[in-house]
């Protein structure tokens, strides 16, 4: 494998890990605040559909993005009402959200556009275009560094740069701000937060809102950046991989980035290779596809380190009367 082949796999890795990273960071806010979110997939799917549909109608990628984020936010709030206000089962709420999104997007897509659930292909302006960073063309000729800058760092959609920027932002918010401290506290011991006179409900809603917005960007990435228009079940289980990545990263932002890059790399690898050979033994492509899930199970089982989630996760907070 030469440099250009390696670069093209790594380039694909960045493209494929972007939605994972956005969804993973989205889940991080909810789960750190003590709300299990297995509905990342549904929120992304709903956002992908809304973004694709609105971008097709308005011809503007930015309006499409805003629509995707709004729909994802609304979905997140629905989940929030169930999990926070009504103190319902958070896991079941997530299952319902995923199913609702899968049903509604296909149903509305077919009814509105009559293209088998697809939204119309996007024209000029309806889709995000790759951004060429300054001097990318000029330095492309420089050996090694040139191609890396030109292929790998430059030439991505703006949402890709936003995703990686969000890692730094999340790390800062989580560890260096008062909000972040409270967010972490409410996931570990909501009672302590409540005793300190801070509203548990408000904090959790804030977390859910951020989750919704980030899932919205992740969803829009599928339909109006990576793809041109929405297709049936477009997110294809990526929300669950993001969830796995979140656990694998032990609910921390920077490890989340590396995990998403790893899972994205596995995805890029299985697309490129139909089968790989390792020491004369053929490794089927399905084994590479299953690897993120297998790794997460192994990690959860405590065979490689230990993943322990926020202590108050999954439990609705009831104020003492």
């Amino acid at each position: 494998m030469d440099l250009s082949a390696i670069l093209s796999i790594l380039d694909a890795t960045i493209r494929l890990s972007t939605p994972l990273l956005l969804a993973c960071l989205a889940g991080l806010y909810s789960e750190r605040a003590g709300i299990f979110d297995i509905g990342l997939e549904g929120k992304m799917l709903a956002a992908a559909f809304a973004a694709g549909a609105v971008a097709a109608i308005t011809g503007s990628a930015w309006i499409g993005l805003a629509a995707g984020m709004s729909v994802s936010l609304a979905t997140a709030l629905l989940q929030g009402v169930a999990a926070i206000t009504l103190r319902g089962n958070q896991l079941i709420a997530g299952v319902a959200i995923n199913m609702l999104a899968a049903g509604l997007t296909t149903f509305l897509g077919q009814t509105w556009f009559s293209q088998g659930g697809r939204t119309p292909p996007l024209g000029e302006g309806g889709r995000f275009v790759p951004i060429n960073l300054p001097f990318a063309n000029e330095v492309a000729g420089v050996p090694i560094i040139g191609p890396i800058y030109y292929e790998l760092i430059s030439g991505h959609y703006i949402l890709v740069y936003i995703a990686f920027l969000m890692v730094a932002v999340t790390a800062y918010v989580l560890y260096r701000t008062r909000f972040g401290l409270r967010l972490r506290a409410v996931g570990e011991s909501p009672k302590a937060v409540d005793t300190a006179g801070i509203s548990v409900v408000k904090l959790r809603y804030q977390a859910v809102i951020i989750t919704g917005l980030l899932c919205g960007i992740a969803g829009a990435y599928f339909s109006i950046a990576q793809g041109s228009g929405f297709g049936n079940n477009m997110t294809a289980g990526k929300g669950y991989i993001a969830l796995a990545a979140l656990i694998f990263a032990k609910w921390k932002p920077v490890p989340a980035m590396f995990t998403c890059l790893l899972f994205g790399f596995l995805d890029a690898l299985q697309i490129r290779l139909q089968s790989a050979r390792l020491g004369g033994v053929e490794i089927p492509v399905q084994a590479i596809q299953a690897l993120p899930y297998v790794l997460t199970v192994i990690l959860l089982a405590g065979f490689i380190g230990k993943a322990v989630g926020p202590k108050a996760g999954g439990v609705a907070y009831t104020k003492e009367r």
Binding site: A93, I97, G103, L243, A290, A307
Partner: protein
């Protein structure tokens, strides 16, 4: 506030699910209205499609067979306080057990092949749930997350098995060899022409047996008692001398084996071969069925028929009203899960208050409670 009393049992098992179902139907009706179709006409089409003629009834029962199995799988786990989201994956890999036995014995008789296939499918499906159970019991990883992961691992595994192992070299389509007639589970239409060309088959007898078996297991055995104690209070069960980790592993295995019975219905009763993705989300329907059926076999049977009717009626719906695709059924199902499972708090408090006001012996309590509230 604390003077609140639980609502009567009949309201809990019948009224509340009915209200939630009605709400789900109303919201779905609004969606139908929103896209410019008539929801009442849609309901009519669904009911006629599901129950109006023999073949429709047969299809309804065929879908219901799957949903009874997956509903029971979720319910059994729920009684022990476990949430098994992995029914889909467990049913899918169970197809391996079913197809291997069916292909090996399809020169004999279905009376030999079917019981052995039930054991094999149950064993494989059970194993696929046992591993997450074992991981929770012994390694402390949460069964919800592991069963989700196992769904995806199952999907990858099955694509490999079908394409690389089971597919005969002569065919292009990703499917196993066809089971010979002698090894197939007989269709009910062979005995009753009423069912037309519908695929409902003798697997429904296994489903009915499973309903009865689960009832006996949970309410009339020591094991079932231990399961329920574990589900209610794990600390209490530990102090009562019950081995929680053993209970978790066995319960998950039973749950997975029940989900695995879907493979008998689909592989040996309908498709007559192993095809990709034959479970088609039945494992997730099981969550809705168990929630609606309040984890009780009678409730599960009714809820399974209800969802079977929705699936069959929904199929009909898209022929009669092209504006409505069958995905509408998935929406209804999602709303049922949302309202009965996650938003129970929406109606329960109101119902509790209503019952307090309308029952004479509780009226005094209610008044006392409301005065206490205003005073404080």
């Amino acid at each position: 506030m604390s003077a609140r009393r639980p609502i009567p049992r009949w309201a809990d098992v019948a009224l509340l699910p009915a209200i939630n179902l009605l709400l789900a139907l109303i919201v779905s009706g609004l969606v139908v209205l929103f896209v410019g179709e008539n929801p009442f006409h849609a309901i009519q089409v669904i009911i006629y499609g599901a129950f109006g003629y023999g073949e429709g009834v047969g299809y309804t029962l065929y879908y219901a067979t799957n949903f009874i199995f997956t509903g029971l799988a979720v319910a059994v786990a729920a009684h022990a306080g476990l949430f098994n989201i992995g029914g889909d994956g467990q049913a899918y890999v169970a197809g391996l057990g079913a197809i291997v036995v069916a292909l090996a014995l399809d020169q004999t008789h279905w009376l030999i092949a079917m019981p052995l296939a039930v054991i094999a499918a149950g064993a494989v499906g059970g194993f696929w749930a046992f591993v997450p159970g074992w991981l929770q019991a012994k390694r402390g990883s949460h069964v919800v997350i592991t069963t989700i992961m196992f769904n995806f691992i199952a999907a990858a595994l099955m694509v490999y098995m079908v394409n690389r192992v089971l597919k005969p070299a002569s065919t292009m389509a990703p499917e196993s060899e066809t089971i010979d007639v002698a090894g197939r589970v007989p269709q009910l239409r062979q005995f009753f022409s009423f069912f037309g060309y519908s695929p409902v088959n003798l697997s429904i007898v296994i489903a009915i047996a499973a309903l009865i078996g689960v009832y006996i297991l949970i309410w009339h055995t020591k094991f079932g008692y231990a399961m329920r104690v574990l589900g209610q209070n794990p600390t209490a069960s530990r102090y009562a001398g019950i081995s929680n980790s053993r209970m978790i592993m066995i319960t998950m295995t039973i749950s997975g084996a029940l989900a695995g019975m879907v493979a008998i219905n689909e592989v040996m009763g309908v498709q007559n071969r192993l095809v990709l993705d034959f479970v088609a989300g039945a494992g997730f329907v099981g969550i809705a069925v168990a929630l609606m059926g309040r984890n009780h076999p009678i409730g599960i049977a009714l809820a399974a028929v209800l969802f079977g009717a929705l699936y069959q009626g929904g199929q009909e719906l898209q022929f009669v009203i092209p504006g409505i695709t069958r995905e509408m059924i998935v929406v209804i199902q999602a709303l049922v899960i949302l309202f009965t499972g996650a938003m129970e708090g929406l109606f329960r408090p109101a119902l509790e208050r209503a019952f307090m006001l309308f029952s004479p012996e509780q009226k005094a309590d209610a008044i006392a409670a409301s005065t206490a509230k205003t005073e404080s």
